[in-house]
Structures are given as structure tokens and as C-alpha cells.
Symmetry: C2
Subunit: 279 residues, 2 copies
């Protein structure tokens, strides 16, 4: 139980955390902050927060827990800035889709006294955005990855873990580097591929698309600014995953060109078998 | 209205045609045939056909309309075989995902007297298969592409068009070559990409997959034998589409490597804009 929760970023993810906390009643009051005043005011109107503040420092100064749900490229600097005004006993966590870059930046710039940051990534995205897309059930049964740094105390990890569980998450722990390596394959590469495929088609194709194209490219409806920043923050592991994907495509293309349909079929069968293990 | 309909192939697609015809009542009776006796018997038990036959010739000999819903690589030879036993006034149509190869093969092997074949492709797939996955509503509001050949009489095209409309389809007409060129981009390439992505992941990744991966690879759950045959039948246009896709991926990779995030963002924004036009 946290008496005061501050939400830094009240968009779809931050907003869903607010609504889920209202429902779980594990939080005393919720203060919202967002750089976009319209989004911030909408979050109050939607019952995501009890009150809102137009300055980061005012929003977080009385908070026992601060959740940063802002684009990945600003999380580290917001944490550093917030630490200066926060209670020394405050805990920080976040929802950033990449972890290694944030942790590296904080390792050199974030003092070991005062607020403790426990890196987190709830696996519960959507191509929608803004507080109107917030949903109290977003985290229910979904995984939240916690990425403790070398100096993260066990008690802080436990407390932040309890918070994510209180809004319905299951918890897994990975190092920041393991996290980024895995999510390059399971999330960032699928997004890149969806964008590349949607970007290839021409207007004359639209009326001839069906379920296969729609599903394969659904996440290409996601915010290009947000995803450019995620790709940037996880550049190395993403390029590695992309090269593996291109190798696989090239093998399929060669089999097709050479008329080696037995090999092609074996590749499809292996992929189908893997896909069937994913619910 | 057709007095006697023969379904050659009573799997998911053929079965859905049977159920839809039962509902529309635009067909007198339905005779089923399938090379798989279990699938064939299940189709009768499921009310897809009124009677079944274990020989193609027996199934089609009294038919006024024959619908071939079998794998693309056997459609042409089944049509040639069926034409020998069918009534000279019978009409043939099919559900094959590729059209140029079938039409080319029939142009040289299918006589211009007797039954008339009107090539069709209902855009209503699914990664499921078998008659138990059949659904009377499968074609409702969906597009069926008709690909008349040079010698297809207008009256036969109209009659077959009316049949597809009677089970809920909207109709568009394309030449067989136009059809295959377009569907290489809108259907075959998305399937190939989904297989390549699903085939890249390792078991350790499974628990860290979420909606993005699931949607992007959904169609990789499709039958590898069926799809190897589709890729084979549309090899040329598919390789062309695949190269365009690889060019786009390479441009994204270069932008990422060179730190040219403005160009990367512009590519994502273009793709997002296109994706938003597809419902």
C-alpha cells in the first residue's frame, strides 16, 4: 500500500495504471502530471487521478511511489530531475519498453541516496494512445518485467513488485541487457516488420487486403515518434534481431528461386509449430 | 439458382460455401466430394452436403455448378478431369488463392466446348482448416475476385458472379495476372513474413511475447503444405514483392545504423498513415 502515487505521464499506459489503482484500492491518492495539459486534464476528468499538477516537482514531492509512463528517451532525465524534489523514502518505477540505456544513464547520474528506482516494463501495449484509451484491466494476467540494477535493494524490489501485482501483473525478473535482447525479438522486430510491410503497399492494394495483412500490420498503427525512440534506444539488439530475420527471409527466397519446395515447406512447418506454442 | 451444386473439397472453405448455400437456399441440393474420407463424412454429418460421393466423377456428373475448393496445385487437373464427366451445360468455379498458373494450364488443356470455368478467389481465409471450422457467414461482406479468361462468356461470368453474391460476397474483377501481382503483396508476402518471424524465435522467447508478436505472426499458424503450394504457384510475383520488402527493411536498417532517426521516423509515419486507411 502506497499512500500517495504520482503518475508522470497520464497517457494510455499511465492512465491504465491510475484506473487499475482506483480499482485495487491499494493506493491512497493519485496525483497526475503530463507535459501535455489537455491529456493531463482529460486524465482527471476520466477519474484516472484525484488531482493534477502542471509542474513535475509539485506532482512528485509528496509521493511514496512515482510511476514514469513517458517516452523512453525522457525517462532517465525525468527520474534524475524528480529525485531532487522527491521524498528520500520515495520509490520510482517506470513502464519504458527498453531498459539498458535508461539503467546505464542512471548508473552514472543517479545518486545512491534518496529515492530508489526499480526499472519495470509491463508487457501490455496497444496501438492506441492517450488517456481515453486507458483501461483498468490492461495489466490483468499480463507480465511485468522487473530489471533490478546491481545496487537495487531487495526490499525495494519486493515493494515495487507488490505494486505491479496489485494491479494484476505477473512478475518476471531479467537483467536490463537480457530484457532488451529478448524484446528486440519479441516486440521491437515485429513492430519494425509491420511498419516495413505497411509502408510497402500502395493505395490500389487497399481494397484487396484481408485478415492476413490486417493482423500482420496491426501494430504499424502505433505512434511513429514513440517507436522511433524505442528503436533508437534498443538499436544494437534490434539490428541483431533484424539481421537474423533477414537471413531467414533470404533462405526462404533462395528455396523459392531454386525450386527447393521441400526446404521451404520445412521452414514453414517449423515456424507453424513454434507459432502454435504461443497462445 | 442452381439445382445441383457439387463441392469438390469439403474443408474449411468448401464447407463454408455449403453452409452458406444451405442458408441462402439458392441451391437445390449439395453433393460433396473430398479426397479425405474422414473430412468428407464429417461434412455430411455437419450438414454441409446432402449426400457425399467417394469418386470425383460421381459427385459432379449431375451438377449444374461445381466449386473446386482444393489446394491450388490440383485445381487445374481436377477441372480437366471433371470436365470429362460433367454435363456440357455445367459451370465450374473455384477458390484458389492464385489464378495465373491455373488459367495458363487450362488455356492449353481445357477445351472450349462443354463446361465453362470462371476463375474465382473469395478473400476469406483463416489459419484454421477442416469442415469443423466451416462457417456460413465466412463470405458475408467479403470480396470475391473473379478472373475471367479471354474466352469466358459474359453470361457465364454473370451467373457465377450471382452465385458468389448469393452467399454474401461483393465482386471485383481482375485479370489472372493482375490478381496474382496484387495478392503477392496483400496476402502471400504477409504470410511469408509471418512464417519467417515465427521461425526466428526460440522457446526461451515464448513467455515474453505479447499482442504485437501474436498478431504479426497469426497467419504463421496456417498449413505449411497449403502455403508452400501457394508460394510455388505465385513464385514470380511473390519474389518481386519480397524484394521490395527487403529493400524497405534495408532502408530502415541503414537509417538505424547511421543514426538517421528523422528518416526512420518518416518511414514509420508513412506506414502508419497507410495502415490507418485499412479497416
Amino acid at each position: 500500500m502506497f499512500e500517495t502515487l504520482a503518475l508522470v505521464g497520464t497517457g494510455m499506459i499511465g492512465g491504465s495504471i491510475g484506473l487499475a489503482c482506483k480499482k485495487s484500492a491499494q493506493v491512497g491518492r493519485i496525483i497526475g502530471y503530463d507535459t501535455n495539459p489537455e491529456s493531463l486534464e482529460a486524465s482527471r476528468a476520466l477519474g484516472i487521478c484525484d488531482s493534477i499538477e502542471y509542474k513535475l516537482e509539485n506532482a512528485i514531492k509528496e509521493a511514496d511511489l512515482v510511476v514514469f509512463s513517458t517516452p523512453v528517451q525522457v525517462i532517465a532525465e525525468e527520474i534524475i530531475r524528480a529525485a531532487k524534489s522527491a521524498k528520500s523514502t520515495a520509490l520510482f518505477t517506470d513502464t519504458g519498453s527498453t531498459k539498458a540505456e535508461i539503467c546505464k544513464s542512471l548508473k552514472t547520474n543517479f545518486k545512491n541516496t534518496g529515492p530508489i528506482y526499480v526499472p519495470a516494463h509491463p508487457i501490455a501495449g496497444s496501438e492506441k494512445n492517450g488517456p481515453t484509451a486507458a483501461n483498468a484491466e490492461l495489466f490483468k494476467g499480463k507480465l511485468t518485467i522487473l530489471c533490478p540494477m546491481e545496487n537495487t535493494p531487495a526490499w525495494a524490489l519486493d515493494k515495487v513488485s507488490g505494486f505491479w501485482q496489485s494491479i494484476g501483473s505477473r512478475i518476471e525478473k531479467l537483467s536490463p541487457e537480457e530484457h532488451d535482447g529478448i524484446f528486440a525479438f519479441t516486440s521491437h522486430l515485429p513492430h519494425l516488420i509491420a511498419y516495413a510491410l505497411a509502408g510497402l503497399l500502395e493505395p490500389r492494394h487497399i481494397q484487396f487486403t484481408a485478415g492476413g495483412f490486417r493482423d500482420t500490420t496491426r501494430v504499424a498503427g502505433s505512434d511513429p515518434i514513440l517507436w522511433t525512440e524505442i528503436f533508437k534506444a534498443n538499436k544494437g539488439p534490434l539490428i541483431n534481431a533484424l539481421r537474423g530475420f533477414q537471413d531467414g527471409l533470404n533462405r526462404m527466397e533462395s528455396a523459392l528461386e531454386n525450386g527447393d519446395f521441400e526446404s521451404l515447406k520445412a521452414m514453414l512447418a517449423k515456424a507453424q509449430q513454434f507459432r502454435k506454442t504461443v497462445q
